[in-house]
Symmetry: C2
Subunit: 490 residues, 2 copies
Amino acid sequence: MDIRIAVVGPCASGKTELVRALRARGYDARQCVQEHSYVPTMWQHISRPDVLIYLDAELPTIARRRNTDWDERLLMEQRRRLSHARAHCDLYLRTDALSREEVVQAVLDFLKSSIHETTNSEQTPLDDTMSHHNRLMTLLEITRQLTAETDLDRLLELIVSRTTKLLGADRTTLYLLDREAGELWSKIAEGTTTMMIRLPVGHGLAGYVAQTGEVVNVQDAQHDPRHALYFEKITEYRVDTMLAVPMRDRAGSITGVVQVLNKRVGVFTTEDEELLTALASSAAIALENARLHAQVQRMLDSVIATLAAMIDARDRQMAGHSQRVTDYAVAIAQQMGLPSERIELLRIAGLLHDVGKIGVPEAILTKTSELTPEEKHIMRDHARLTGEILSNVHFSDDLREVPIIAAQHHERLDGSGYPNGLRAEELSLESRILAVADVFDALTSHRYYREPVSDQEALAEIEQGAGVLFDADVIEILKLLIAEGKIHHD
Amino acid sequence: MDIRIAVVGPCASGKTELVRALRARGYDARQCVQEHSYVPTMWQHISRPDVLIYLDAELPTIARRRNTDWDERLLMEQRRRLSHARAHCDLYLRTDALSREEVVQAVLDFLKSSIHETTNSEQTPLDDTMSHHNRLMTLLEITRQLTAETDLDRLLELIVSRTTKLLGADRTTLYLLDREAGELWSKIAEGTTTMMIRLPVGHGLAGYVAQTGEVVNVQDAQHDPRHALYFEKITEYRVDTMLAVPMRDRAGSITGVVQVLNKRVGVFTTEDEELLTALASSAAIALENARLHAQVQRMLDSVIATLAAMIDARDRQMAGHSQRVTDYAVAIAQQMGLPSERIELLRIAGLLHDVGKIGVPEAILTKTSELTPEEKHIMRDHARLTGEILSNVHFSDDLREVPIIAAQHHERLDGSGYPNGLRAEELSLESRILAVADVFDALTSHRYYREPVSDQEALAEIEQGAGVLFDADVIEILKLLIAEGKIHHD
């Protein structure tokens, strides 16, 4: 087996173990520390490996720094940096949630054909026996399911599993087109493993469909010149029959290819072509919707994070305050088992809790001596102003309480807080969590008028107000998270 | 004809003319200046009119003030203020785009049954002749069309017209459920006329379906006790056969009712019930998606507007600056015929063009005497900082250029601008428009160091830089819009 594999990735990504494991299984695997070092010197006279595996310890870091999820945009950046390093097939593996052993296993699984995803639990019955009417009804039901799913990853999974079942096939692969890079890519998420493979457009049958927009129904792939036999060599999966149709967006541009492999009984029929074309059409629109929605959602998220960072930036000593308070509050809420929509509410309220500080003059914000009563009054007004400013935002139903929670971060259980002197029974759990997270970050951060204290000292100080100023249960959770090292600001 | 109609609305909404026209046609119509004055004194012993018509000159004003479109949330506010004033059927009519005559005509149309929308241009063929297979294929195609439509209003229209056709019926009404108010509502948009009707849940067959979740297939509505005969009296539209099914969201809760009236041939069959149920199911999900998307989009819009207002609020003299610059820039771009996505790009860049001012100390921002070279340097740095801050936002593909355009609002054609001293050929049309809009507002606004000048004086000053500092075409358009009174800041 002379498959050439190049492994690329930063240190500590498990590269060495992976190369060793691949060699032990007979692959011609080589590694390189820097991605630009491997081509074309690694294999003499051959500038192109069969598979380029990129172990990705770096992307999650970028993602964290940008306060965003690992997403296609980051991959595209990585991709551009790697543009000179092309293989027949590129594999990106997200490694941050995986052990070394799991990395090796994921790559071996990939090489042994997990690229063609199978329907998992629900084993495909021989759907050929379905009547035309039943298949139409099933298609209608699938279309509805696709419409209902707005999460991109789950949607991709759903399309693949439903297609395999409806067509009575063995496997389905869904490729999306990256027009800029001239490549098809496919994302595979299984449990904690996230992988992405990329193939040049024009290669293989899927690449042919992406290029021409034709529906291709192949009854003997082994003798079809368009079929990428080298791919079979890599994946050890033999393809005999294959049906592939393009996906198009609203504007009619090709956005991807759905490829169905090895009909269980016989060959793919004209009816199969019609069904897959209809299904691919619905899938394309559902995908377009999901991406559109994800884009707007991500834009919203980043605008809010930017707004928070801008507020903090007015005062050097507050840099990162809103983000840290949010991180602490979310960690506490997660530990307390709050439902995800309440956590999201708390997250947004946390990021925006200090927007009212825009109304406090810098002279007061950055004053190093004690504030006069008048100045203190202006400073305290920021909490009220936060509520006022946020009331101008059209929050969605789930986030309707953001202005209330954000404006209550200086309220205290005994009514001694501000702006409204509310008492325990008037304060939601989210407000109480935010109050504790805010004061914890205030104590452990540099301030003009005093030095920061340690996490333990801050905790001790907060505990003195347990049940009087701050919610005792919330403090217990904070204590636990500090002890476990999940919250720290030393 | 003893239909009692109350007309509510502010002055100048065309109330008097409407009441006169209704009375001339034999309706018992009465008006009141304030909405709270009409019940229950208007009709002795009767506290409830048959129809309450709310002429809406006020809502658009609120909408403009809030920088948002006329939407359901505003209607809900209005609704709460009117909660004591209930009728069998409420009609909200948006009047700002209509002449007095059009208002009268719209109301008469409504009373004469336009409430049951008909398919307009494409007259319904007798779809009963369609084979079951063809109807399934049509249903599939409709489902796909519904999925592809993300605009709520167009989606509602699409559902209604497609349903009428598929079911071979005369008319279709789509009601959405307002759970809080316990009402069904339906929006009718035809050309410039936007109307909304509201009915209490539990009234009529649609109300019965909303309450019970049952599918109701009535073959003789005239003798069905659930049918609201009073409604026929108002609309003068006789219902014989009627099929109504509930719409449910992902969670299974009822969100509305689709009601199909008067089958063209015969009565509604079991197959019709199945088709309508399937269609309503897809429609419900498409509606949920569209509303979700609209909600997130509106939230994003309002966060951006709030951010812009916060920046301006740091300096009293700048209040409203970002919004005004945006309004001017958008007006110029519209007049120049830019495509809508470029206008949207310019709109966002306009709102955010000064975010970099967060980095300028208040002492410099609000200084009344001339700035020192050092202070001037810091002040000028805001344009660069705008670009830097906005580069942290994950703009969607359409908005990718926002940071670039926003950061270039102080660049000048001859390269004398900042931060990068770019020259004409490096500046996009959007940047040039923004530069003109920004300087126009600066000149016509109060500043610490000088008095505002008039629109004409500002224009004259800008014209001196035509082709050297500012784009001459853009200035021409500004001149035109000022002359037409479409841009003014006196």
